[in-house]
Symmetry: C2
Subunit: 205 residues, 2 copies
């Protein structure tokens, strides 16, 4: 389908969010089906939780935490997406997010490729994506110059870009990951995909 | 489809839970389709939240709370279920739950009818189902003897039955509403209906 000329769909996520990963594997194809673009915004859920007074949903100890670990895996199977529970979880993701924004300034498509590769590195290959070394390696495999990216990860511009995105997320009402906003309508969670599809198809409810 | 002889599906819910209401409108028909029975268990989420250290998800003030109020309504529309946001929410539901268990001791089918009527009284007709008077009225409309039920609502047996059910819920790992358990597999939230259907169809994932 051709582009509808409508504003892009905003996709807010943290690279450490399992449901964010599930959404990342579906949202672009779904949007394309309805002639829409998607703007990806990696953010840091820690900052969002702190600002909104929320807590991470999955602690791996409480009955809810244990359920969620089980549900991540089951939801992935149900959606036909590869998933291996990461051995370190959750992880800080500022390096991955900063790399994304720096790459995005050079080449949007490459940044998208990097984001997908980073999610799979974490949720399929169990790599420690909090490590700058791993982030550089993922990018290098996509042809990115290692030392330029290494420098960028510490640059004030990129650090402040990520901070700005987190603030923009809060301003947009984002309280978790994944958070999708289409034409001002918010959808939280990978399990809202059927409602997102309905919205794209009909423009409302 | 005829009964499969398998154990009934457990449906844990609070009468004040919007997603519990949405589940209540779907689960019986879905179970019947796969030859299964459903056992309804009204519980008090306040007790569950206290025991698990959780908080009610929808406060109506935070960005998450506001989103959820919107999502209750949108999810109802998406599922084709009538929904009018109650003007008093959430409400204590011990009277409704006690009435359910007393009725269940007399007539299971009547108890189920009462549960449905109570959910609709709250989420469609905006009645204050925390009030014993309203609970008695709902039951009376189904032919229940008012004064017997009025007495039962204060009986130690019924009070302790509800307490036992809340404890059983916690023991079963319930941390919210609706919580469905099928053959030991837990599903939390009305949005897990597609996964529940898949489970009923295939017996796993």
């Amino acid at each position: 389908m051709t582009d509808t000329g409508k504003a892009p769909i905003d996709f807010w996520f943290d690279f450490s969010s399992p449901y964010g990963y599930l959404m990342s594997e579906k949202i672009d194809a779904l949007a394309t089906q309805y002639g829409r673009q998607v703007k990806w915004h990696p953010i840091l859920l820690g900052i969002v939780f702190q600002a909104t007074g929320s807590r991470p949903p999955a602690d791996g100890v409480s009955s809810k935490g244990l359920y969620m670990f089980h549900d991540f895996h089951r939801s992935a199977r149900h959606m036909g997406i590869p998933y291996n529970p990461p051995s370190r979880f959750p992880l800080p993701t500022q390096n991955a997010a900063r790399a994304y924004y720096w790459l995005h300034g050079q080449d949007c498509a490459l940044a998208r490729q990097f984001a997908r590769a980073t999610y799979r590195a974490f949720f399929v290959d169990d790599l420690d994506i909090s490590s700058p070394e791993v982030v550089l390696q993922i990018a290098a495999q996509l042809g990115v110059d290692r030392s330029s990216l290494e420098t960028a990860l510490q640059s004030p511009e990129i650090k402040s870009r990520l901070k700005d995105e987190c603030e923009a997320a809060l301003k947009a009402g984002v309280f978790g990951s994944p958070h999708i906003i289409i034409d001002g309508e918010a959808f939280f969670g990978a399990d809202r995909l059927p409602q997102i599809e309905h919205w794209l198809k009909t423009g409302g409810f």
